[in-house]
């Protein structure tokens, strides 16, 4: 942003009290009025909500001003159990985040139009695990699903244990014959208390936990966590480490997109694509294993750099992989595009309106297939993407077909990025020591995983341990949109729609 230029975000942050030692973006402490005016800016579409999370006596919201590409955090501090003014009463994408804040901290979002718990199913051995308030455990009562009434409506409960090899969650369909009238999701089944485990952990354990928030995005999460730590400490990692991080991130994106393109087609009863795409995915994982010593490249990115260097054999294996995928993938794209029985299932199915994608700040292929071109690699240009050509595909149809095409295009883009990285990989060390700064620091990072932008915010104690770490999966803003996209579709198309979104249960439940 140009100096002196006013924007919605800078205007709001300037009215608050700036917080020192928060990097790379500003954080300001607000009063209730300023907090509400930010919520109003969100509801009017002038800002995008990037995250909303709580601590024992404070709440924070991360905001994006897309018009000028600026990011910042607004906080309310010194809160009592009576809580804070709800953001969701004005801006509905905050709804589940605020229900989660209440479950985890006990802070009441005043005016929140939904009093039901979200992550807390009444089965933990305590309440408000991040709030440390002593309260009795509640009776376990049945979850009150929203009602849909009318002649001929029936309900179909699905999950938490599903028919395939997928994560647990509950879907409550209300249908009229074959047509879905309402879908309501109930999540939280895989809540592991990761953020409570983060509190007091050292950085090594922090990176390990971050890499286990969502297994399919283990690289992206470790990347985001490490970058947030480095932002807090003012540490610049060696160039080779930075480039190899991006290489791993693109391999992860490639593997996930290839696997999912096949799986979506399989859910449309076309297993030939799954067989071929599954073969390509396996080759990516094997090349990653040969290059970095782990098929999913888990625990390779740590604060300060990376733990596993790329040698000549590994690089040669990756070049062979690129050639192999470039030789085989175009025929699969053609097969997808020219198979009418497959197109019949994907075109026009599960349409997500552009307005909703924008309102929710939907990231990744969900946003990009519905006209929202946000990509953290392009928007914040964190290294090494500041010196790479990042080209973001955008479509407007918003259906399953568009989400498949975004992934196809991103496979091609990732191949190009991997090639650019291999061509220009700097030499040098891959890991720096973590400096001791002796004061409390806060850091933040926004990293583009295959599913969308992952936000990590953390505060480090003076001796370097983690005081609080919040990790926000892109799925938080995609799960609610799946409910909207399935409306009016037939029940049998739900697996197809669900797979085309492929939201993370574990990343969301945390």
């Amino acid at each position: 942003m140009m100096r002196g230029e006013m924007s919605t975000l800078s205007d709001i942050l300037e009215k608050g009290r700036p917080v020192p030692h928060h990097a790379p973006w500003a954080r300001a402490i607000a009063d209730a009025d300023l907090w509400i005016s930010a919520a109003r800016a969100l509801s009017e579409g002038r800002l995008i909500l990037l995250g909303l999370w709580g601590e024992e006596s404070s709440v924070h919201m991360a905001l994006l001003d897309e018009a000028v590409g600026a990011i910042g955090v607004l906080s309310l501090e010194g809160l009592e159990a009576t809580g804070y003014p709800s953001v969701a009463q004005l801006h509905r994408p905050a709804l589940r985040l605020e229900r989660a804040i209440r479950d985890l901290t006990g802070l009441e979002p005043q005016g929140l139009p939904d009093s039901r718990p979200w992550l807390d199913h009444g089965r933990w051995d305590r309440r408000y695990p991040l709030g440390e308030r002593e309260v009795a455990l509640p009776e376990v009562s049945p979850y009150a699903f929203l009602r849909a009434e009318g002649e001929g409506l029936h309900q179909i409960p699905v999950g938490p244990v599903h028919a395939g090899i997928i994560e647990p969650g509950h879907f409550r369909f209300t249908a009229n014959g074959e047509t879905v009238v309402r879908l309501e999701e109930r999540l939280g089944y895989v809540h592991k208390g990761t953020e409570a485990l983060m509190a007091g952990a050292d950085l090594i354990r922090g990176a390990q936990l971050a890499g286990r928030v969502s297994g399919d995005s283990t690289v992206a999460y470790a990347y985001a966590f490490s970058q947030a730590v480095e932002a807090a400490l003012g540490l610049v990692v060696p160039p080779r480490a930075s480039w190899l991080r991006a290489l791993m991130a693109e391999l992860e994106r490639l593997a996930n997109h290839l696997g999912d393109i096949g799986a979506i087609c399989n859910d449309a009863a076309f297993p030939l694509m799954l067989a071929h795409c599954g073969m390509l995915r396996e080759r990516v994982l094997r090349a990653a294993d040969a290059a970095f010593g782990h098929r999913l490249m888990r625990d390779r990115i740590v604060p300060g750099g990376i733990t596993s260097d790329l040698n000549g054999d590994g690089a040669a294996g990756l070049r062979d992989l690129l050639a192999d995928i470039r030789r085989r993938f175009p025929a699969l794209v053609e097969l997808y595009d020219n198979t009418t029985s497959l197109q019949d299932r994907t075109v026009g199915t599960g349409r997500l309106r552009a307005g909703l994608a924008r309102e929710y700040g939907a990231g990744g292929y969900v946003g990009r297939a519905s006209g929202r071109g946000f990509d953290a690699r392009q928007a914040t240009r964190y290294p090494p993407y500041d010196s790479l050509v990042v080209d973001v595909p955008v479509l407007n149809d918003g259906d399953v077909n568009a989400r498949v095409w975004i992934r196809i295009r991103e496979v091609e883009r990732s191949l190009s990025l991997i090639e650019q990285i291999l061509d220009r990989l700097p030499v040098g060390p891959i890991l720096d020591a973590i400096p001791s700064v002796g004061e409390r620091r806060e850091g933040m990072a926004l990293i583009e995983g295959f599913r969308g932008d992952i936000l990590v915010w953390l505060r480090l104690a003076p001796e370097g341990r983690i005081e609080r770490c919040h990790l926000r999966d892109p799925s938080w803003f995609q799960w609610p949109l799946l409910e909207a996209a399935i409306e009016g579709n037939i029940v049998a198309d739900f697996p197809l729609c669900n797979k085309s979104f492929n939201c993370s249960y574990s990343g969301h439940d945390l």
Partner: protein, 177 residues
């Protein structure tokens, strides 16, 4: 599509061949299924996957077992859609408190004889999530476990090797872990 299908006819399959006897894991697995599973279970072993709080890493490698390289079904091992069709529950995750009841019910819904395999480091003792207010810390806290397959996540080959151990257990009538 015709070209792709035609190529598949003339090209050698990618499925990695049943390994020579020297490749202990795969060969023993194939052989063990010949001997033990057929006697107890006929020609196949039906596996029901249950995610009891995993990060989804284990699920990714479970999926890989079905790709053309591993092609798990050629050994008579297959994933089924309901616990009522299953001989084996393949359970992942540290077992979150929110999933404990669902896991228990899935176990009860599985007909005897049945075996439980805990997959991954979390399934053994909660892994890096052990001690959290939200997890019980291992599959054996909720249902009896016949075999643990370690790894974070275990590779597809590790999972195949692990199933060999289970089949030995099935043969020997005892719990193997």
């Amino acid at each position: 599509m015709r070209k792709l299908l035609f190529e598949s006819l003339i090209r050698r399959p990618l499925t990695e061949p049943r390994p020579p006897v020297s490749d202990a894991a795969m060969a023993e697995l194939a052989e063990a299924i010949e001997r033990s599973a057929r006697r107890r279970l006929g020609r196949s072993l039906s596996i029901r996957a249950v995610d009891a709080g995993s990060c989804n890493g284990c699920e990714l490698e479970m999926h890989a077992l079905s790709n053309v390289f591993y092609d798990i079904e050629r050994f008579g091992l297959r994933f089924v859609a309901s616990p009522r069709h299953a001989d084996v529950l393949l359970v992942t995750g540290p077992v979150t408190r929110n999933m404990a009841q669902a896991l228990e019910r899935t176990y009860i819904a599985t007909p005897d004889p049945k075996w439980v395999v805990a997959l991954g480091d979390c399934g053994r003792d909660g892994g890096c999530f052990a001690g959290s207010y939200a997890v019980l810390g291992g599959v054996s806290k909720v249902v009896p476990v016949d075999l643990h397959i370690p790894g974070c996540p275990p590779s597809p080959m590790d999972i195949l090797k692990g199933l060999l151990g289970l089949l030995d257990g099935v043969n020997g009538e005892g719990r193997v872990s």
